[in-house]
């Protein structure tokens, strides 16, 4: 009795807040037929939004990947004072509103910003241009890969690497042949989540982009532009591509969690153990 009631409650809530909104995206996108749908996603400004979104993710994700590996190596393999402060600082971008993330870069690189005059003198555009979008996206996705790698590398310990080194491997050989294979699933997991956020980020990018159609509009911004033009079908058509990306991300995430069940524990829960273990 209680069982049925609880399952009913849970499923109703999930249907109302998750499933129906998701289905709405596809229903609205296809409301005027397949031809209109494909016209909306192949129109030049939509294509340039797709291109820009891919470009931004292609820069931001590798930047955070290199950082994530470096941070995890330092934090998981060595003991030093201030480690838990460093972990807290790495998580900081998660606690900052995306709008504030955008604001930071306007204050630094905007016309009235700290470096505004310098940038203008050298004809460099950061804000309201692609570099600003990349910066804001990189900030917002900053912790994703590091926080997946740190607990996994901590749990694995140093024994494998120490063995490799004692057998005569160089530091780089040890990293490429021992560490990287050990952390590959966690790495993929982090990249997957980082990429989903990078491609979907709206608030931070909206503040720094200037929203110029076909120039500085990423896919989420293009959705907003179309929506505010009352071009609902086209807005939902582009949105449906992002929804597909989200679904692919969820499938990939489930697959990786099946390969390595430890990945399932939430970042937060693992964080606590990571801090407790040092």
């Amino acid at each position: 009795m209680a069982r049925r009631f609880l399952i009913g409650c849970a499923l109703l809530f999930m249907a109302l807040f998750l499933l129906i909104p998701l289905l709405t995206v596809f229903a609205e996108a296809l409301a005027k037929g397949v031809a209109v749908y494909f016209a909306a996603i192949t129109e030049p400004s939509a294509l340039s939004a797709i291109e820009l979104t891919l470009l931004v993710a292609l820069v931001s994700v590798p930047l955070n990947l290199v950082f994530g590996i470096a941070a995890a190596w330092a934090i998981a393999k060595f003991n030093f004072r201030g480690k838990s402060t460093l972990i807290t600082l790495i998580d900081l971008p998660f606690a900052v509103s995306p709008v504030i993330a955008g604001l930071m870069f306007i204050l630094l690189f905007g016309a009235n910003g700290w470096f505004g005059a310098f940038l203008r003198a050298h004809h460099i555009k950061v804000v309201f241009a692609v570099p600003g979008i990349v910066l804001a996206t990189t900030f917002v996705t900053f912790p994703f890969i590091a926080r997946e790698l740190i607990p996994v590398m901590q749990a694995q310990g140093n024994a494998d690497e120490e063995t490799a080194l004692s057998l005569g491997a160089t530091g780089w050989q040890t990293f490429w042949r021992v560490t990287l294979p050990n952390i590959r699933w966690a790495l993929l997991y982090g990249v997957l989540l980082c990429n989903a956020r990078a491609m979907g980020e709206f608030g931070a990018v909206s503040v720094v982009s200037g929203r110029v159609r076909g120039v500085t509009a990423t896919m989420p911004l293009h959705v907003e532009i179309l929506y505010n033009d009352y071009n609902y079908t086209a807005a939902f058509a582009v949105a449906s591509l992002l929804a597909l990306l989200a679904l692919l991300t969820l499938v990939g995430k489930s697959f990786l969690e099946w390969r390595q069940p430890e990945l399932r524990r939430t970042g937060h829960a693992r964080d606590r153990t990571a801090r407790g273990n040092q």
Binding site: C9, L18, P98, L108, E161, V223, A239, S254
Partner: protein, 280 residues
């Protein structure tokens, strides 16, 4: 970098200096310096200006709305998120794996997409909006719409925080309680709730923190009328568009300090709960 010197002198693995140095450099350039710019800039026109910018009626109204709606949404999520986590761990039913994966949808779905989808659904012409309208309830373009969007955004935090805790629960304790004659409600109240409420609080805090800063999913459904349905992040954007950088920075600082204080409060409450529970 004395504060980060290693206490153990003998290090077998290479790369400590390189990786920690790179981590610190990247962290400073991308996070710490830009964030400090917000704080410094907010006081750039003097304390008085900061105070005036932060306490203008329109600003206070937006802060009240942002924090209030986030609180309501986080409470809703704490209740239903716990039920969902419980159902996903303890029961089997068709499509359970799909339902479990779906919980992460708000993490994966871009906020703007969620925003327009929820608006289309809950607008007076929308599928659910029409249903609510028959009861005389308006959802979209009212504070209720903001709560809907923030509930969507915060749900996974509660579910994912509670799932591992429920998985680790010892079922024998519940069975023992039932054997000793406790009703289902008594078992819940006396056995489960003391263990569940600290992680519920964590989930609440995470959902709340995320909701306070949320922008993309809210602005479409909110209506964005000053003093009634204008959230604080939107007001920051508005100030920026008027080139009032100090005013925008001031709201940002108030938001960050307020959420940080609330997080500290929740942490303290949690520590208190854990010690009290442990002593019994």
């Amino acid at each position: 970098m004395d504060a980060f010197a290693a206490p153990r002198p003998q290090r077998v693995l290479p790369g400590f200096g390189l990786t920690l140095g790179y981590t610190m450099l990247y962290l400073c350039l991308l996070v710490l310096i830009p964030l400090s710019a917000v704080f410094i800039r907010s006081f750039g026109a003097g304390w008085l200006h900061f105070y005036e910018a932060a306490t203008a009626p329109r600003v206070l109204a937006s802060l009240r709305l942002s924090f209030g709606a986030s609180m309501v949404a986080a409470v809703i999520n704490s209740v239903f998120g716990t039920i969902i986590a419980w159902v996903l761990v303890r029961y089997t039913f068709p499509f359970k794996r799909a339902a479990d994966a779906m919980v992460d949808l708000p993490f994966a779905l871009p906020t703007a997409v969620a925003g327009i989808a929820l608006t289309a659904l809950y607008a007076p012409t929308g599928w659910l909006g029409r249903a609510f309208a028959t009861f005389g309830v308006k959802v979209a373009f009212t504070p209720l719409g903001i709560v809907v969007a923030l509930t969507f955004i915060g749900l996974p935090f509660v579910v994912r925080t509670l799932q591992p805790v429920i998985e680790d629960l010892d079922r024998e304790v519940e069975q023992a309680a039932a054997t000793l004659g406790a009703s289902a409600f008594q078992t819940f109240r006396r056995v489960l709730l003391p263990v569940l409420w600290p992680p519920m609080l964590t989930g609440f805090a995470l959902a709340f923190a995320r909701a306070v800063g949320e922008y993309g999913s809210v602005i479409f459904i909110a209506g964005n009328m000053p003093k009634s349905t204008e959230i604080a992040p939107l007001l920051i954007v508005t100030k920026l568009e008027q080139f009032d950088y100090e005013g925008a920075a001031a709201i940002a600082v108030v938001m960050m300090v307020l959420s940080f204080t609330i997080m500290l409060g929740v942490n303290a409450l949690q520590d208190w709960a854990v010690t009290r529970h442990g002593e019994r």
